[in-house]
Every structure is written in structure tokens, then in C-alpha cells.
Amino acid sequence: MGIFDGIISGFGVALTPMNLLFGFLGALIGTAIGVLPGLGPAATIALLLPITYSIPSPVPAVILMAGIYYGAMYGGSTTSILLNLPGEAASVVTCIDGYKMAQKGRAGAALGIAAIGSFIAGTVAVVGLTLFAPPIAEFALGFGPPEKFALALLGLLMAVTLSGDSTTKGLIIMVLGLLFGTVGIDPISGKSRFDFGVIELQSGFDFVTLAVGVFGVGEIFYNLEQQGAAEIVTTKVGQVFPKMTDWIKARMAILRGTLVGFFIGIIPGGGAVIASLVSYAVEKKVSKHPEEFGQGAIEGVAGPESANNAASSASFIPLLTLGIPSNASIAMIFACLLIKGVTPGPFLIVEHADVFWGVIASMYIGNVMLIILNLPLVGIWVQLLRVPYSILAPVVILFTMIGSYSIANQAFDLYTLIAFGVLGYALRKLKFEAGPLPLAFILGPMIEGAMRQSLLMSGGSFAIFFTRPISMTIVALFALFVMGQIIVSVRRSSRCARVQKAA
């Protein structure tokens, strides 16, 4: 069966009333949990898994779960923009410029561009999935420990760009993020680090708890102190749809975000979170006016929100073609398929063509449903800002707590949530930009683990990073990046010197 016949038959499967209903349910639930801070797709899919036992065919079950996963990427931006509270792990960077836009009364434009960017990226990624899934999957397997190390190192370099005006402060925050990343069992030695005898700390801090705490809860603490300021923010809503100038600014960001997201999404261990962070860094780097970033640049919303959608769709490629789950949500979908007697992998397309093509076709339909569902919601969500802060704040805190608890079903995460909230408050007070914190927190353990794994592979020789083509290319990019930065700063300082001389 060719690709064309396959996708036609897939639409035949996905357009049956039952599958349409499940696709819609997935989109709806996904949007909802995306909006609710802390509640993530992985926990939701785990919760809904028993319901699928009674459905005889695997197709509607997988359509439902897939819908929840990519649907969450649509909803995730909502509270990031409105409340500086990441609704989903992959929407952490959206807070930086999205929330600033909302404070300037442009919440509607930010939400609108996020939804449209998500739609474009989601659809383009599904086209990529349809056309190139098997060869791309082979390429992704080429990413072993040395390649992951090089990629993560490049990512960390980009994290500097997430810092605000002061590079020194940005570096301090990065180191803080790296330190938080070291807590827990070190996978290479098996030894537990910085757990202070607390068993819960052996598995390290949870990313969602850290991000929701530092950004969301910290913001609420800060706003509670500044009663007046919070009221002003909540009364300004602004126009709902993006202006023409927004489109022109955002269109390349959406395109770049889609590409970045797609390629990071296919790498095992990649996924939507890293994709969104890298996309933000890329946007700031290529922008002609990087000073606008952090002050409400629409590219800072459009890029990452496109990237996380492209990545979530792309992460179906290793699952469907290789049987490799690249993140927690996809692992749950993998589990669901196995329980239904379907083994994802290279034979899926042959043995269960209805599942393979049905799910892919449902993703086209799902993205259309999501844009139809989400665009009108923009108008409703911005009304949320009219809710008095005295009501909104406790409700939001409650939801973040439910979300944090749902990650591992343990009360300990509630304490860490509050602790990270206090940290976030302190950072706001001391005028630190928290942006690099989550990126360093995720990349630190990746860099450390992948480097030590690579050195074990090579018997201790660092040549392994320069002799493998993909790894060497990334290392070369890294070097170019650093060199470029040095040249720019040397020129700037010599110009400064000349100006001083003239004066």
C-alpha cells in the first residue's frame, strides 16, 4: 500500500462516527488539561487507560490518547500568557513574552497567534509524518550519547539568550538550574546525590513542579504583595485577534518553530519541552530587535508554541515506525497499544494498517477540530482576566496543587511546589529573569549523562565527539556560535574605545 492509498484508507477509518467522536473527545480533554496548570497529558492518559479496555478496537483508543497529547499543546499556552503560569511543561517559555503581552493588553493577540501557530505546525508535522516517517526514524536512531551531548551543550549555550538584560544574572540562574538538576540518583554511578536522606528526592525534582512553582506560584506571591498592580493587569484585555503587523512578524517564527520542533521531536529523549525552549532561543538569536524579547515580542510566543506542537506530532514517528517511546506521554500511548495487542514498530504499517493510517489521518482532523475549538475560546479566556485576583489566585493555586500531586501521587511534590514558588518570588524581587532555569535544569543531567556514557563508549577518549559526523557537525556549530559572539563583543568594545577616544 502506497502512502496515498494509505492515507485515503486512514481517512476512511478516522472519519467513522465513533472515531470522530473519540478524536473530538481527545481534542477537548487535551485542551482542558493543557489549560489546567500542572495537569499534564501523561497523567491524564494513565487515568483514562482503563476506560479504553471496554473499547474492542485499538483505533479509537489511540485516537483519543493522541488527541489528548497534541491537544494539550494547544491549551498549554493559555495560562502561560494570561497568568505567567505554564499550563503544560512545553509552554514554560511562552510565559516570558506571552505574559508581557498580556500585561500590555495584548493577551488576545498572543492567544490567537499561539493557536494559529499550533495549527500550522501541527498540520505541517503530520504531513512530514505521512510522507517521511520511516527514513526520518532511521536518521533519529543515529543520535547516540555523543550526539545528544553535543546537542544539549548547544542548547545550554542558547539558554544564555533566555536571560534578560544582565548576562551575569542569567549565568547565575543557569548554574542554579544545573544544580537543581543534579539532585537525585546519578544514573551512571547509581549513587544518590543531595537527597539529605529524603527518599522522595532520590528521583530528583520534577520539571513541571519546578516550572509551575518558579513561574506561576512565584508570580502569584509577587502579585499578592502588589495588590494595586495586579488589579491594573487584570482589567486590561485588549483586542482579541492579532493585527496584520503581528502576522508579518510571527510568520517566519512559526515556520522556524515548526522545523525546530519537528527535528527535536523525532530524537529519542527530545520532545516538546526542549523543542519549545530551543525555538525561543533561536527566535531571539535571529531577531533584528532582540531587545524586544522579554518585553512582549510576538515571535517569542509564536515560535515556541509552534515548536511544541510540531514536536508532539513528530514524536509519533519513532513510536509508530520503531516502537520507541520518546517521552512519558508517548510511553503511555505505547502501553495502551500493547494492552490492545498491537505492537508498535516497523510491522505496524503492515500488520495494523488501520491503526497506523487511522491515527495519522485522525491527527489532520484533530488539528482542524482544535483550531475551531480554540480560536473562539480565546475570547472567553481573556475574560478570565476580569476575575478579581482575590478569587483567581486561590483557585489557580488549588489547580497547581492538584496538578503537582497527580505527577507521582505524593504529597511531597506539594512542598517542593511551594518551595519553588518562594524561589520564584525571590527571583522576581531581586529582578532575576527565571527563563534559563528550566532549560538548564533539563539540559544539565542530559549533558552530564550523555558525556559520561560517551566516554565509557570510547574508553575515555574525547575524540568520540569529533569523529562522528552528526556530533562533529553540532560541535562545529557550537564553535561557530561562540566565535561569532566573541567577534561581536570585541568589535563592540573596540567601537566603544574609539568613541571614548573621540570624546
Binding site: 505505547f334 549523562g449 556514557q453
Partner: protein, 325 residues
């Protein structure tokens, strides 16, 4: 008079309705049973639990509810069960995992794995299978050992976790065969298997459920299983002992436990139910799909078996001088 009869009838009825519900509290189970899986959703223990969840209602009036409590390599969820009310409504599924049979030899545990928990049933044993890439020149463990000796080079192997079942098995093989095998730990079985699939290491190990998709796809060649006998889910793959290497491990054992003070008749009811599930045709089919062989044992045999597995791992760890400090 008539009114008196009616009112006493009403009272009798009310009492009659109240009494059975009061007594029903004693008849186990009268409410859903929480099954704690101390690992993340989607892993092999979780999949086993979900297969049980699916079949359980056939044999019991109350359902089971799966609760994932990952953390501390399984210790967090297990400790939760140890500290919960010993009434049979909180069970631990995955009893016999690495943190039960391996970790107590290496570090201090916050509870006594064998005294604080009562074995209910053994459901499965996840053996360690050693694999290589399909393009590899190794067709048996002997080929691999011969290559390592001839080239005098180390063999690289991806393993799921440091000092886990796979790591210990492959390290033990290296020692018995007299070759240098560098084990490279990852953050879980899926990562380790993916690294082998990418051809970044020479060999790798994993449980059948993790490697089966790759064997089916012709990406992996299974070289050996490390159980004393062949694994029913990989019947064509010879054991290490068959190939002349005197190494065996119990891989990862997957059973059910309850807090130690759980009443005996409740444990008996649970064990009987698990036995019926293990004999159920639909469950058997599910377990074949999951590549998890059913290896049922009753409470008494399972408790004895665990002691044996624990002692065997202790000896291996001592012989190989493995530590995590």
C-alpha cells in the same frame, strides 16, 4: 395494633438492611482494591498491573485501581504500601524488582523488604536477555568472547540502570568469560534499548518485553537469556549455562505483596484470585502480547523463592565486588 405492626416491620426492615451492610464490611473485598505500582506508567510493571486490572473483575466483585507512585527506584511506592493499613485494600505489585532483591545488598533501606511485606503471589519473571544488533558479527556469546579475546578490546554494553539486574548479569558474564565488558548505564530500559537499536554499543541487555519489538523487526539478534532455564517468551534463545557460561540471574521478579500484618484469609483470597487470573485464557493471550511469561507461584512458594533470589543476588554482588558508593 396495626400501626404497631407496620412500624415494627419498618424497623425490622431498616435493621435488616443495616445489618448485612455492617457484616459486609467483614466480607473481603467490599470496596475497590488499590494496587500500587512503584514505577512510572507505561513501564513493564505498569503494563503487567494493567493486564491484571483488565481481567480482575472476572473473578472478584470489586475492581482494582492502579496507582503509580514512582520515585527512589521503586522505594517510595513500596514504603507507602509497607506503611499503609494492613487490610488487603492496598497492595504492592512488582514485588521482587531490583529494589527488593538487589538494592538491600547495596544500601540501607527504610523498611525490611521481607519482614514488612507478606508475599501474595508471583505473577511473572522478567529474565535478562542479551542482544546484539542484527548487523553484528556475533551470533552467539562464544563469538563475542572469542572476538574480545582476539582483538583484546572491551565489549560495550548498554544497561538499563547502574547495579540493576541487567548490569549485574552482564558484568557477571564478563567475569566468568574472562573478558572486559564495559556496561554503560542509562536512565531506564527504554533508553538503553534505543541506544543498542542505534548501533552505538556492541551488545545490550533487556527484559523480553523491552526487546521483543526489535527482535520481531529484525533489528536485534538475541544471544542468550540469563535464567537457569529457557524463557517461555523467547523459547529459541539458549541460556548462558547452555552456552557454557556458568552465570544465571533471576532478572526482575514481578509478584504481589501486602503489608505484613494483613489477615491470612485476605491474603488467601487475593492469592486465589491471582491464581484464577493467571489461568485465564484472555490474560494468557495478553501476557504473550506483552512478552511477559506467566510464572505463577502461591504465597508460600513465592516467599521462599524470593529468599533464594535475594541470596543469589547477594552472592553475585559480593563475588563481583559491585558497589554504588
Amino acid at each position: 395494633m396495626k400501626r404497631k405492626i407496620v412500624s415494627s416491620l419498618v424497623i425490622a426492615l431498616v435493621v435488616a438492611f443495616m445489618v448485612p451492610t455492617a457484616f459486609a464490611q467483614d466480607k473481603f473485598p467490599s470496596k475497590p482494591i488499590n494496587v500500587i505500582v512503584p514505577f512510572a506508567a507505561g513501564g513493564s510493571s505498569d503494563l503487567l498491573a494493567r493486564a491484571v486490572e483488565r481481567i480482575w473483575p472476572k473473578f472478584s466483585p470489586q475492581p482494582v485501581v492502579i496507582i503509580n507512585k514512582p520515585g527512589g527506584g521503586g522505594v517510595v511506592g513500596t514504603e507507602f504500601v509497607v506503611r499503609s493499613k494492613p487490610d488487603g485494600y492496598t497492595l504492592y505489585l512488582a514485588y521482587g524488582s531490583g529494589h527488593d532483591v538487589v538494592m538491600p545488598h547495596l544500601q540501607k533501606m527504610p523498611y525490611d523488604t521481607y519482614k514488612d511485606l507478606a508475599a501474595v503471589s508471583r505473577l511473572s519473571v522478567h529474565s535478562v536477555a542479551i542482544c546484539t544488533g542484527a548487523k553484528s558479527e556475533f551470533n552467539s556469546i562464544k563469538d563475542m568472547v572469542a572476538w574480545a579475546k582476539k582483538e583484546n578490546k572491551p565489549i560495550t554494553s548498554s544497561v538499563s540502570t547502574k547495579a540493576g539486574a541487567v548490569d549485574i548479569t552482564i558484568t557477571a558474564l564478563g567475569k566468568v568469560a574472562g573478558i572486559n565488558i564495559v556496561t554503560i548505564p542509562f536512565a531506564g530500559g527504554a533508553d538503553a534499548v534505543t541506544t543498542l537499536a542505534g548501533g552505538h554499543v556492541m551488545i545490550g541487555g533487556g527484559h523480553p518485553s523491552e526487546i521483543m519489538p526489535h527482535i520481531k523487526a529484525g533489528r536485534f539478534k538475541p544471544l542468550a537469556v540469563a535464567l537457569p532455564q529457557r524463557d517461555p517468551s523467547l523459547p529459541d534463545v539458549p541460556t548462558l549455562i547452555e552456552q557454557g557460561f556458568n552465570v544465571h540471574t533471576w532478572g526482575s521478579i514481578k509478584g504481589v505483596a501486602a503489608p505484613a500484618a494483613t489477615p491470612k484469609e485476605v491474603v488467601e483470597y487475593l492469592d486465589a484470585t491471582f491464581k484464577k487470573i493467571c489461568e485465564d485464557a484472555e490474560f494468557k493471550k495478553l501476557m504473550v502480547d506483552l512478552a511477559q511469561p506467566i510464572m505463577y507461584q502461591n504465597s508460600a512458594d513465592f516467599a521462599k523463592f524470593l529468599q533464594q533470589a535475594y541470596a543469589d543476588y547477594g552472592k553475585l554482588i559480593k563475588d563481583l565486588n559491585i558497589s554504588i558508593q
